[in-house]
Amino acid sequence: MRNLKVSFFPATLMLVALLLCGCAGRREAIALSNATIAGSEIHQDADAIIYDGLSSSLGRQFELLFRAKRAELETIRQKFLAKGYEKFDGIFAVHMKSLDQDLKEAESEDYQQAHQKLLDAAQAYKTDHSDAKAKALHDAIEAFRKETEEFSKFRSDSIRQEIEARNTFLQQWQRTVETSCQDALSEIQKIETESATMFEKLDSSLAKLRTHHKAILNGERQLGEYLKQKTAIRIVLEQFLHGVGLDVSLGSVDNWIHKTAATVEGHLNTRVESLNKKLEGEAARP
């Protein structure tokens, strides 16, 4: 009988302690904490996927952007080179046509004058075979030949100069296109290099965020441990019983108390409801 009393004493003490020191909603808080930790773990994994996705997607997007812009620049280069040819060749064609017309007019004017002088000298020599007339005819022939040669040289020089002018401007234009495109390419390259630095920064920032999330999760886990922490009285009781030599599982007693409390609460609620109905029925009776 005394042994029985001794065994019941700590159990009674424990129940009183649990009643005095128990917290409302502790189980629910622990359940919520577990659910939050599980949710946070899911987020940690999801965030890692999102971070990787963001980093690689932005990287790909930029790679495509720079590739597209380089291709566009090459198109501009070719377009403007062709445009230059078209433009300068067009001007050259018009100039050659005008030059041809001008040369014909100039040729006929100068040719007519020299030719007339030659005819006049020949006519004079026909009637008068003097040395003076012969010399005049010789001079006229020489002047005509000189005029023809000079005009021929002028014609070739004019055409050559026209070709040279067209080529000089075209070459200048080609240099301009190449230099401008090269400068633009360098500019794109510079922006790309800067972007690469930004990607390094992005990766470093995402790594920081990952570590931060891990620290939060550890904090949440520690809070979970805090919620599961036994009360001082419970620890004392457990260790007291352990010291006495009794290993009683307080966890199972806890469960029993909660189940019993829930059952009693349920019975009481049912009873209260039926009493309420009864009272309502009696009140409704005339």
Binding site: F62, A184, I191, S205
Partner: protein, 112 residues
Amino acid sequence: MGEALEKLKKKQEERWKEYAKALADLQAELAREIQKLTEEVRQEAEKLQKLVTAIEEKANEAEKSQADIEAKTKELETALKQFEARWGGLGQNLGQIVRNRIGTFFPLTPVR
């Protein structure tokens, strides 16, 4: 050289100005197109820069708060261990005292 040819030479030199004008027009057009292109690239890079800067700012804030979280986590962990050790030790000591006293009158079989 005759007067006609002199006139012709001047006319030709006058015509060459058309090449210079065409060159200037083409240069201006090319500069506009290239500027548009590089501007687009720069704008796209700026968009990325803004995004990265925003993330970087948040990451720096996170880095600062991380130290605080880690310190507080450690403090809580230590506090819990100390709490358990303190009260557990007390209970165990009390239990042993009781056991030693009672054991003299009621021999209990230890569970462990």
